[in-house]
Point group: C2
Chain length 209, copies 2
């Protein structure tokens, strides 16, 4: 799936608009205006609004996990360390593509069965397999509990990250962090989330507590 510079410009502009106003809430005319292109250009380059959405998913959802996978399947790294690397990586990846993930959250709630929904499911399966590998390794080394609900673990991880992403203004206010610069606050959130999730995972995976 290759895209030209112009197409990528449309993709990323549409991504921002879809994230802010929703798919149905964004008109093709808005996308055209925001990209300084003609209305017909979107149909010309992508065929339809629906296909543009699919293109965004093809553009974003690939290659997300390959870097993590190589990190994680490396020998000589303890399962605990691998979990930590995974958490760091997931948080960074999601933060980098915040708009896309906002779209994905909204999309996964809808009762649809289209290409986009299938792409989301495939992505989830990959995540499960990845975490399962690490958990299995930890169990083999008697470091982790025997019974671990891996899907539930992922649900807490992704759910916490997404909820933070979607309510970050509220978190900022509740913790009186309004004085922080935007960028500094983003860094702060990531750090807090990473520490938090690592603690949680250790509790669930090891036999402590």
């Amino acid at each position: 799936m290759e895209f030209t510079d112009k197409q990528i410009h449309i993709l990323e502009t549409a991504e921002k608009l879809f994230a802010d106003k929703g798919f149905e809430g964004t008109s093709v005319r808005e996308i055209a205006k925001e990209t300084n292109m003609n209305l017909a250009a979107i149909s010309y380059h992508f065929g339809s609004k629906e296909k543009l959405m699919e293109a965004i998913f093809n553009y974003r959802i690939n290659n997300t996990w390959f870097a993590v996978k190589s990190l994680v399947s490396g020998k000589g790294i303890s399962p605990v360390k691998k979990i930590e690397l995974l958490i760091d990586s997931v948080i960074d990846k999601i933060s980098e593509k915040e708009c896309f993930h906002r779209i994905m959250v909204r999309q996964q709630i809808l009762a649809k069965d289209d290409l986009v929904s299938r792409l989301i499911t495939e992505s989830r399966v990959r995540n499960i397999q990845l975490l399962n590998e690490i958990v299995q390794e930890g169990q083999d080394q008697k470091l982790f509990k025997k019974k671990v609900d891996t899907p539930l673990l992922i649900i807490t991880m992704i759910g916490t990250i997404y909820q933070m992403m979607n309510t970050q203004d509220f978190y900022r206010q509740a913790n009186k962090l309004e004085s922080l610069e935007d960028a500094a606050f983003q860094v702060h959130i990531r750090r807090v989330l990473k520490i938090h999730l690592k603690t949680l995972f250790k509790t669930i995976l090891t036999n402590e507590a």
Copy 2:
């Protein structure tokens, strides 16, 4: 805010449609057809589609926390027990109003500042205050850690519940629970979530681990 039976019928029908297809993805004509009412009836009873959405929020978002509040502010109950009661209650309340919460999740992601957004924020403030009370009590009794990020705790709680709600088919498949009846699976999810979140909260709040 009082509603007639007919209005409630419209509210609940629209709620289901908004949850399944999104606000912009649902037409007023669809709501009319689904309720077996005339198109103009929606405008007549609520004024506009936007106001109908606001009415759904007014209908649902109230009274959600009053029952919890009375449970929680009771004397003679340990802070740990109160946390458990809170978790049980939140999970049950959200499960009861799944459609509404699906709408709320989608709504809170949008970059809007309307009445609905303000209602969501107010609801969050109430939740924080409630949990803060319990945490404070636990800290006074030297049961909980001194430093607790209450907002982060709520984010994990709500985030986990929402993520489970939105990906429950996936969870079911990943844990090979397809043989369970729908109702039994719902019960299963709730039980698992309750145990899971209680464990997490105890870890974060107490000085273990």
